[in-house]
């Protein structure tokens, strides 16, 4: 998750060299987007048992990490923004979320395919994954931190704070 936030940060800083209106609040928005799919991790903190018992059916929070779930989350976040920011900041949130899904697509999994259904509910197809890293690999975080640091350094003149 830290790597996702760092990459979101780096992407937004880089985008800032082209987009004059982009300030630190927009960088934050891209970082929020980069963490949006991990709303599904709520299952680590709350049990879905009471909900399943009440509804009499299985529920699966991983739906929030599917393409459709992420899209709905991004739309909800976007609609909660002030109207002048909605369009442009919404795209940054979406870009952050997209970067999360793409980076997760490279994760090493025991099935050799992506860890979840990226295209669901359009399709349950899980593309093959090259298995480049595990989410707990320290070097991945270190690499993302380096990218973020370079992005900060390279753009610090243009945008002194953020």
């Amino acid at each position: 998750m830290l790597a996702h936030a760092l990459i979101g940060y780096a992407m937004a800083r880089a985008a800032g060299t082209r987009l004059e209106w982009l300030d630190r609040s927009h960088v934050t928005a891209a970082m929020v987007g980069a963490l949006v799919p991990d709303l599904s991790k709520l299952h680590l903190f709350v049990s879905d048992d009471p909900i399943e018992a009440a509804l009499g059916t299985d529920v699966e929070l991983l739906a929030l990490h599917s393409g459709g779930g992420v899209l709905l989350s991004v739309l909800a976040v976007t609609l909660l923004l002030e109207c002048t920011e909605r369009r442009r900041t919404g795209w940054l949130v979406a870009a952050g979320a997209a970067s999360h899904l793409m980076l997760d697509g490279l994760l090493l999994t025991e099935t050799g395919r992506t860890a979840y259904a990226v295209f669901w509910p359009a399709s349950t197809y899980r593309p093959p994954s090259p298995g480049l890293y595990l989410s707990g690999d320290i070097w991945v975080t270190a690499l993302a931190a380096t990218v973020a640091a370079v992005a900060w350094w390279a753009t610090r003149e243009a945008r002194p704070a953020g």
Partner: protein, 160 residues
């Protein structure tokens, strides 16, 4: 303005309802959203999955033979013995594996991902840190305008 605001709230509520619908729907796609049966299904009816492919995940409680322990649906703990695991594991490691259950109760490993216990907790810790970092930035850079029912950028005079 008030009308637009109301419409927006209605749409956000609708999106949340749809999101909830997805969560229920996904719980009923395949094996709770997974293409393979998992430890819950295996614990329920082992024999039904003998010779098929199942994904298991658990913590190593014994290394010779490699045995993993996992919690299943009814909150009980079940243990599985793995054979053919090609990577070294220590007690406490977490193993995710695509396996084929054998009639003798062992699971033949086809592919596996092993993660040390430290890495497991490290992932939790840095993820929590990331969540807090972004939360702090949101609180600093955005504020919720109750009047407009929207987040507004707090960086008005601090563009940077």
């Amino acid at each position: 303005m008030a009308k637009g605001r109301l419409a927006r709230v209605v749409v956000v509520v609708l999106l949340v309802v749809c999101q909830f619908g997805l969560i229920v729907w996904f719980g009923n796609v395949g094996y709770e959203g997974s293409p393979y049966p998992g430890t819950d299904e295996l614990a329920e009816d082992y024999d039904a999955y003998v010779g098929r492919q199942v994904v298991v995940y658990g913590q190593v409680v014994e290394t010779d033979p490699v045995t993993i322990e996992t919690e299943v649906d009814d909150d009980s703990l079940v243990r599985y013995r793995l054979t053919g695991l090609d990577s070294d594991v220590e007690e406490g490691s977490y193993v995710g594996a695509l396996v084929t259950p054998r009639p003798d109760g062992r699971l033949t490993v086809r592919r596996s991902v092993v993660r040390g216990e430290r890495d497991h907790w490290y992932t939790y810790a840095v993820s929590l840190a990331a969540g807090l970092w972004v939360l702090v930035r949101v609180v600093r850079d955005w504020r919720f305008d109750v009047e407009a029912l929207a987040f507004v950028s707090a960086g008005g005079d601090d563009r940077a």
